[in-house]
Amino acid sequence: MTAVVQAEGLTKYYGRRRGLEDLTLDIQPGEVFGYLGPNGAGKTTTIRLLLDVIRPTRGLVRVLGADSRDPAVRGRIGYLPGELALEGRERARDYLEFLGRIRGGVPASRLDALAERLDADLNVPMGKLSKGNKQKVGLIQAFMHEPEFLILDEPTGGLDPLVQQEFLAMVREVRASGRTVLMSSHVLAEVEHVSDRVGIVRAGRLVAVENVAALREKAVRRVELHFDAPVPKEAFEGLAGVRDLRVEGAGVSCTIDGRPDALIKAAARFTVVHLVSAEPDLEEIFLTYYSEEDRHHGVAEPA
């Protein structure tokens, strides 16, 4: 099967400003690909290149096996822009129907079903929609024609938690039906539960592509253990993957790199009364990759 996205040496400069440098990436049919990076990393630039909103400075990109310049390809894509603008007096429903007509017709029942799932009021003029409701309208227009490939740029911004859950359920359904999703975010927590793979982009470069499971293993995680009696520091020193160790009386805290196995086995010799393990946050994962990058490249390259 041909890849849904094939990018090779894809590069975009805005004048002299770098947007994206030398991106080589394949996204396979049926996968959910999380595209992670801090603000200004180049996520939106990548996505706009895929949709032919902007044109590459160098490099090749094919989408769904065709040239990204071919308008017909866009008929098979659903797109949620990162900075979605909806304006005017027109009601959201009328606008969605207009977009649907250009996309070859979308049944009204499907619009209603989506609006109900996301709890969106489509009778409001678009200029008067709140940020969250705009995002809902944006999601509806991206999903409504059941595209083969969904490109969602920071989709969860402005959504309340319940709607976020519903949205993630919609993404899972898309994957279950064999279709493909590319979604960007600057928070791993938003994408990790639905993504099969994540790519991490920073300062215009793709620095890693990982399976989510593998990424979790690599993630730095803060762990605290409390025992029923003070424990000797030596029992925890020199364990594989354990860093920043602090032992204070009956409490032990540290960060783990990868598997917690050695720490758990060491702790098992005492009586554990309390265990806290913070979810790895993206920032720490970034820090790990940044330091690796710097080791590979020496000093950071000029911006």
């Binding site: 805005y14 706009r48 949709l51 032919d52 909103v53 902007i54 044109r55 308008p71 017909a72 390809v73 866009r74 008929g75 894509i77 797109y79 822009p81 900075e83 979605l84 603008a85 909806l86 304006e87 005017g88 007096r89 027109e90 207009f98 977009l99 250009i102 996309r103 070859g104 227009q141």
Partner: protein
Amino acid sequence: MVSQSLRDCRRALIWWTIGISAFLSVYVNVYNTVKQNPQVYGQVALDKFPGPLKDLMGQSLENFSSGVGFLQGAVYQLFVPFLFAACAMGLANRAVAGPEENGTLELLVTLPVARARLVLQRFAAMALGLLAVAAVTFVLTWLFAEVNEMGIPFGNILAAHLGVYLLGLFLGTVTLAAGAATGRRGVAMAVMGVWAVAGYMVITIGRNVEAIAWLKWVSPFHYYAEGRPLYEGLPVGDYLVLAGATAVLALTAVLSFDRRDVGV
């Protein structure tokens, strides 16, 4: 897409139609008073616009008290063409530059529609919108001319009004093309404004200045006014030049929009 664009600017169209119609009903109906006191008003009109200002108003003031002279001076010389130009500018900026600046264009260019078609459809919407304004104001002008017994043939008013439409369409297309090429409303309005005002100056105040006389060939007002349609009927050649230039500009808009980044 075309009907969607038209629906978007429905309010603007209605307001422009009302505005220009109000202008017409006030000005054209003043003619009754003028007609009854030809000496007074003919003289007043002349005195009111001395020297270069008279040039600015073209030659029409000299026979201000005749029906055709009055209609030319009050309607077709300056005010209505510029009202149309302003209206066209507003419509044209809704095509590309406006949506690009407010961010709504991004979703449209990611629809399965070629960029060239997008621009052409928005051009068509502008042309149709302007046509609607022109049609309503034409009927009004003709009606007022009849009521006031100006004695101008229907065909001549139609020819003059067609000129207003073509001029507005041309200037609108200038705006659209500049907006499609740059994505900036300000740039588009500046390009069009300078072209229109300079073009008007060249054929009025500047018509006797040797050094800039050649500029009249690039002034849309030359092709609009020189054939004196209200007096002499349809100036086919001149209007074809306007229409041809409009087509070339529309093509320029398509080509320049097709090859650039959107929203940067």
